[in-house]
């Protein structure tokens, strides 16, 4: 693989194994840039990257912004409150207005699946998906894969458990697609009400037993459980979830010593993850954040260079 040809990053599904590897390799070089005193290279000098967020997000937006700035691109943040979108103006209108200011890339987050695709079809800018509804969050999956590969040297043959609200998780979907493509074996685990139908057809194994998943896994990705799920009848209570599915030091004793724990954040300490696990030696949570910038630099660099 010597040439990157994709002008957009819309989801993990559209990336080949080689393309994923190329992003990860490029990210390794960019990670070094972030460790310098002068954390900036002129690669995207003169380019404009717009963060167009229709859904609030601090982490992902900051990470993208930092990535763009470290590549010397100019950045603008636009947070669109969808409830204030006047009925007459569609999301496409908003995006076209942004594009009319001659921007080069639009990093978009929206609560509805497919919005980045619609933008890519209708706009000339490069579109990077920073999360579309419960569907896809490609840069999170890429940074998770980068983090695992950096620690364990490979992805192929690893057993990865994803635990939590799989139904509403774009992180779960994108990681499932990416990791299985790279040859890892993924088990999704959570309450039956929060496992989407027919997910086996996407290559996942399903388990309702977190202890079993701990015993078999090399890596576990824990997902945030939102309090609203209780109100919407998905769960009897957050308390019961914590008891049945929460990962604690006690539980981790059943697993391998080298079992790695990841979480895309923000965490609910004491619910899906106990504080001592979150801050413990097996936790990669802060490294994920560090690597997020490098991976997003790689993505911006590659996508903006594609002709």
């Amino acid at each position: 693989m010597s040439e990157w040809t994709k002008r957009h990053l819309l989801d993990v599904e559209e990336l080949s194994k080689e393309e994923i590897e190329m992003v990860l390799d490029t990210a390794r070089s960019f990670k070094e840039v972030s460790s310098r005193d002068v954390k900036k290279v002129p690669a995207l000098r003169g380019k404009t990257v717009v963060m167009l967020f229709f859904e609030p997000s601090t982490r992902t937006r900051t990470s993208f912004e930092l990535a763009a700035k470290r590549l010397s691109a100019d950045t603008i943040n636009i947070a669109v409150n969808t409830s204030s979108l006047s009925k007459g103006e569609t999301i496409l209108d908003t995006a076209r207005n942004v594009e009319a200011m001659n921007v080069d890339a639009i990093v978009v987050r929206h609560a509805t699946p497919g919005v980045p695709q619609i933008f890519a079809h209708n706009l000339k800018s490069s579109i990077i998906n920073a999360g579309d509804g419960c569907r896809s969050h490609p840069t999170q999956a890429l940074l998770d894969m980068f983090t695992i590969k950096e620690k364990l040297g490979r992805l192929e043959g690893l057993k990865v458990g994803i635990v939590g609200d799989i139904l509403h998780s774009r992180v779960a979907r994108s990681n499932l697609m990416g990791l299985t493509k790279m040859g890892a074996e993924v088990t999704v685990c959570g309450p039956s009400t929060l496992i989407p139908v027919e997910i086996e057809k996407l290559g996942a194994k399903v388990s309702y037993d977190v202890d079993k998943v701990i015993k078999q896994s090399d890596v576990m990705i824990l997902l945030r459980i939102q309090k609203e799920r209780q109100k919407d009848h998905f769960l009897p209570s957050i308390r019961e979830y914590a008891i049945e599915f929460g990962v604690t030091t006690e539980r981790l004793k059943q697993g391998k010593k080298e079992l790695l724990i990841m979480h895309p954040g923000p965490m609910n300490r004491g619910v899906e993850i106990s504080s001592d696990v979150a801050d413990g030696e097996q936790s990669l949570i802060l490294e994920q954040v560090t690597n997020g910038v490098a991976v997003r630099m790689a993505v911006l660099y590659l996508v903006l260079g594609a002709k």
Partner: protein, 177 residues
């Protein structure tokens, strides 16, 4: 394709450059060598080895990928692949010798100078090239040259090094069509 340097010439050139570096810098104090990817890295390692043989002491060697600093990023087909830059020593107040295989327009060196500046403030930066083929587009010159080769613009200088090319060292002049 004409061979203009064989392996002996290359070997002697490197030893000579090592001597010249030591002579000009009066030894190895504050001296470091940084090779520009890809073949500059190999040459840097060889020069460092020669210096160690002469002085009995090693100099720090770094690797520089200048792609992020290129001025033609928007012109090339797709983004060049970025490889790691590895400079794990402080450049402040150091005498840096940049090493590249062929000195041509000078644009690569311009990018390398910018990159080096981002790492610190060396007391001086010097340039070593195995081949200087002329046709500079920027006010840049080499301090140490293996061989000056007058070329036509349409010609191509090809450097072959055993470490990267699995062939005996050589420098060729090719006619580009």
């Amino acid at each position: 394709m004409t061979k203009i340097m064989d392996s002996d010439l290359v070997r002697r050139a490197i030893i000579r450059i090592a001597h010249e570096i030591l002579e000009k810098n009066k030894g190895i104090a504050q001296l470091c060598i940084i090779g520009i990817r890809t073949r500059g890295v190999i040459l840097a390692a060889r020069i460092a080895k020669a210096i160690k043989e002469i002085e009995g002491q090693a100099v720090p060697v770094g690797i520089l990928d200048i792609n992020l600093y290129r001025d033609d990023l928007t012109l090339v087909g797709s983004q060049p692949i970025i490889r790691e830059t590895l400079i794990d020593f402080d450049l402040n107040e150091q005498k840096v010798v940049l090493v590249d295989d062929v000195l041509f327009t000078g644009r690569t060196i311009r990018a390398a100078l910018d990159a080096i500046m981002d790492f610190g403030r060396p007391s001086s930066i010097q340039l070593a090239a195995l081949v200087d083929r002329g046709h500079r587009e920027l006010p840049i010159r080499a301090d140490y040259v293996g061989k000056n080769i007058p070329t036509a613009l349409k010609q191509n200088v090809k450097v072959v090094l055993s470490e990267s090319d699995n062939e005996e060292d050589a420098v060729y002049l090719e006619e580009n069509k």
